[in-house]
């Protein structure tokens, strides 16, 4: 009996995804663990591995097919000794059980792994000449249109019925005498679409307010230097301190470790810290779970590992799903201070600037200190000004007096 391979649900909330690329072809021998395909969800690209042994009998869904529903039959695996005739027995596509959404897991924030399928306009899109011309006349990127013709060929009716999504603002707004500056339209990757959707939603629906504070780092830098001088097995960064400080501060000010849930408020008992990591084409926010219970060394190691996975596009859903608080650090890029956009459904994000020597006035004296400006963005539906201020104060205290983090 041929084995049917269905579109997997790679995350609890996944309903459909893009079959980005087959890593096997018909006739290939596979065994349990062989990577079959790259599946791109709105959050990440993941490899899908075989759980059975056999020969790929038939690939039902072609590379690059978008919006393949979870449970759709995507390929058929022939078991040993079976030939193509076994394909006939394959039943109609039946929906594989879709993982039930778990209430306790909040929807993941804007996160994704690098995406290999940004369709550049140079790629060949199978389309009819007429479809291409009409698309050009209507200013539609043919690559955006899904084809209903033979082998997914884009034909006239597809272009005619194409409803363009929000069009990118072309630099045409700056009128030049010759009209539009030349530009190239590149199809949005799923990760970019998700970023766009989630952050627009955040800025439009989440009432942000911002709290800023300067934090002196000299004690922290001294502690860090001491710690790092004691062993070559680890190298603690300032950011590791910040993660731990935030985790502890959330524990100390539990009213800030919350999420607005419509008619309920979620109070988290654990500090799961999402750390924004820039990757080509976007950013991802892997999570250090229970960071308040982890030491600096463990935080450091986990952060390094997650950042590497993120840059390699290897993040798994459990690596980025959830998170109760985010940190975005642009200090290493020389940014003095900035304000960040909250990652819904989280209620706060800390924007961290660079540490630098500044004159500091204490009483009537001017002295030099290493100072870092941070800015906390809060969802006012969940966190009021005073709570936010308490949280920021706690963070400041932990960072300025790092020994308190030992308590």
């Amino acid at each position: 009996m041929a084995i049917e391979i269905f579109m997997p649900a790679l995350s609890p909330t996944m309903e459909s995804g893009t079959l980005a690329k087959w890593l096997v072809k018909e006739g290939d021998v596979v065994e349990s663990g062989t990577m079959l395909a790259e599946i791109e969800t709105d959050k990440a690209t993941m490899e899908y591995e075989s759980i059975d042994d056999g020969v790929i009998g038939k690939i039902m869904i072609a590379d690059g097919t978008e919006e393949v529903a979870v449970g759709t039959l995507i390929a058929v695996l022939l078991e040993e000794g079976e030939d193509d005739s076994a394909l006939d027995t394959v039943s109609s596509s039946k929906a594989a059980p879709v993982a039930v959404k778990e209430e306790t897991i909040p929807a993941p924030v804007v996160t994704a792994a690098p995406v290999s399928t940004i369709a550049p306009t140079g790629d060949r899109v199978f389309s009819s000449p007429l479809a291409r011309r009409i698309a050009a006349q209507k200013d539609i990127n043919i690559a955006d249109v899904s084809g209903s013709g033979p082998r997914g060929r884009v034909i006239k009716r597809d272009v005619d019925s194409f409803a363009p999504v929000a069009k990118p603002t072309a630099p045409a707004a700056v009128a030049s005498p010759d009209g539009d500056a030349p530009y190239e339209e590149i199809k949005l990757s799923n990760i970019r679409k998700t970023i766009a959707k989630r952050l627009t939603e955040s800025k439009q629906t989440v009432p942000h307010f911002y709290l800023g504070v300067d934090i002196e780092l000299d004690n922290l830098l001294a502690a860090r230097a001491e710690l790092n001088s004691m062993s070559d097995e680890y190298k603690i960064s300032v950011n590791d301190f910040i993660i731990r400080a935030c985790a502890l501060a959330l524990k100390k000010i539990p009213n800030a470790n919350v999420q607005f849930g419509g008619d309920v408020m979620r109070h988290y008992s654990r500090s799961d810290i999402s750390v924004a990591v820039a990757i080509p084409g976007g950013l991802v926010t892997p999570v250090i779970r229970g960071a308040e219970q982890k030491g600096l060394r463990q935080i450091s190691e986990e952060t390094k590992e997650l950042a590497k996975k993120a840059r390699d596009g290897k993040l798994m859903p459990e690596d980025y799903a959830g998170g109760t608080f985010s940190i975005s650090n642009l200090g290493m890029m020389g940014i003095k201070q900035f304000q960040a956009v909250i990652n819904p459904p989280q209620a706060a994000i800390l924007a961290v600037g660079s540490g630098e020597k500044r004159p500091v006035i204490t009483g009537d004296e001017i002295r030099i200190a290493t100072v870092m400006s941070v800015n906390l963005a809060c969802d006012h539906r969940a966190i009021d000004g005073a709570v936010g201020a308490n949280l920021l104060g706690a963070i400041k205290t932990y960072l300025e007096h790092p020994s308190t983090m030992l308590l």
């Binding site: 394959v90 109609s92 596509s93 479809a131 006349q137 082998r151």
Partner: protein
């Protein structure tokens, strides 16, 4: 009486039914065809094929008459109508036998008799008034075809007044012939009998001959028919047929109501087609009928579970190739619904892209919209024309009379329609049909290298002309 059970049973073995049966068998279904008369249906036995055989005789005769134009000598010209008809019948018989072979090869059971739908999933078959079989099937395809439409005052008797069926096996060579209707069927018979020397009058109710064709093509054909001696009355109708001993006196009225009586030997009624909807159990099973045709959806489904209908039975265009195409679609849809994953890219037939051919002299062929239809639909059009007189091959053939016309959407370059009149155009129209199916614009057609010397070069030139670039005219 036997009881038989199949996966799919097709009622009617014409070009819709037998093709559906073969496709069903290919997909592994146990299949049967119920046919009351001859495999191949009207197309093969009483339509497309035997008329082409007759028209070929007429064409050869025409060439013989014009032998001198080619430097040839042909003396004592004449024809033997019986032999002309015999040849036509022989070809029909040969091809019908071919279908029987195809049925056998595909292991399709052929049940001879008249089938009637008893209920979804069950047909009764009778032969010579006796019930011979109960045939059960999960899916039933109704493909009983159509026949000539008649009106109370325009009724065929097979002797003096013919339908196409009688005209194919004439009991006499009429000296004077009236053809009522100038559609493809009427014009083809008019052309045939005119070539053999009959004095032919064609009466058309509408204001032009071949009314479904592009007006310009219609006008071109009319001019040519008249030059051949055909008498054509448009915007006129035959109001009465008065049968005499061996002649018919018909009354024809022009649009002003002015009537005249004319005597002819024979009359051919070619005023349209009506579906064979009677006695096949439609009313009993609440299958909807509208003006002589079954109402089926784009996939051929009648709305009654497991009962489908295709071809002429479901309405215009009444063309064998449309029926065959629907035959494949209806089966593949059934297979897909049953979960066959091999069936991909299945679409209902695009009725706007079914070519039509008329085998009169000169031949007429077209696909897509006429210029007027395109304009009526709101298209701004670019029209290209190329006359046969500008084509070397046409002149070499002695066939310098004809026209190729293209209609493009001015904005998108879509080939909205192509219309041709002249020698061999029925063999060329597929070029434009393929172009339309592939959705080429004028650009790809211009880039295509057409072989020289061929008539097809005119197809290229007619495209170029639409953009002011024709070379040879």
């Amino acid at each position: 009486m036997t009881k038989q059970k199949f996966d799919i049973v097709v009622l009617g073995g014409g070009p819709g039914g037998y093709v559906a049966a073969i496709r069903a068998a290919q997909l592994g279904y146990k299949t049967a065809v119920i046919e009351r008369e001859n495999l191949g249906g009207i197309c093969l036995n009483w339509g497309c094929i035997p008329t082409k055989a007759l028209l070929r005789s007429a064409e050869v005769f025409h060439n013989m008459k014009h032998a001198a134009d080619y430097g040839l000598v042909a003396k004592d010209l004449g024809f033997d109508l019986d032999k002309v008809v015999k040849r036509s019948r022989g070809i029909a018989a040969q091809l019908s036998g071919g279908i029987a072979h195809l049925m056998k090869k595909n292991k399709i059971t052929v049940i001879e008799g008249e089938g009637k739908l008893v209920k979804p999933g069950l047909l009764h078959v009778t032969k010579d008034g006796k019930k011979i079989a109960d045939v059960a099937a999960t899916d039933i395809i109704l493909a009983t075809g159509a026949r000539a439409r008649e009106l109370p005052h325009l009724k065929a008797d097979g002797n003096l007044i013919w339908t196409y069926r009688h005209a194919l096996v004439p009991n006499v060579m009429p000296k004077k012939l009236l053809v009522i209707g100038s559609g493809a069927i009427g014009i083809e018979f008019a052309s045939f009998y005119n070539e053999l020397g009959a004095e032919v009058t064609v009466v058309e109710m509408l204001d032009r001959v071949l009314p479904v064709e592009d007006e310009e093509i219609s006008a071109f054909a009319l001019k040519s028919f008249k030059a051949q001696g055909l008498n054509i009355l448009t915007s006129a109708s035959v109001t009465k047929l008065d049968k005499k001993k061996d002649t018919v006196v018909y009354t024809v009225e022009d649009k002003k109501g002015k009537a005249q009586q004319i005597e002819v030997d024979r009359v051919i009624v070619a005023i349209g087609i009506t579906g064979n909807v009677e006695n096949i159990g439609l009313e009993e099973n609440s299958i909807k009928i509208d003006r002589g045709h079954i109402i089926a959806d784009e996939w051929g489904h009648t709305g009654v579970k497991g009962v489908h209908a295709i071809g002429d039975l479901t309405g215009p265009p009444w063309l064998a190739h449309k029926a065959s195409h629907e035959g494949v679609i209806v089966i593949e849809k059934i297979a897909r619904d049953k979960g066959n994953k091999e069936i991909k890219d299945l679409h209902p037939i695009d009725k706007g892209n079914i070519p039509g051919c008329t085998y009169c002299r000169p031949q007429v062929a077209s696909v897509g919209m006429t210029e007027q239809a395109a304009k009526d639909k709101g298209h701004k059009v670019r029209v290209g024309r190329f006359p046969f007189i500008g084509n070397g091959k046409a002149i070499a053939l002695g066939e310098a009379e004809g026209l190729v016309k293209t209609v493009f959407d001015a904005k998108t370059g879509e080939l909205l329609g192509a219309h041709m009149v002249g020698a061999e155009v029925t063999e060329m129209i597929q070029g434009y049909t393929v172009a339309r199916t592939l959705e080429t614009t004028e650009a790809e057609l211009m880039h295509t290298v057409f072989p020289h010397p061929t008539l097809s070069e005119m197809m290229h030139e007619a495209v170029l002309d639409a953009y002011g670039k024709a070379i040879h005219f």
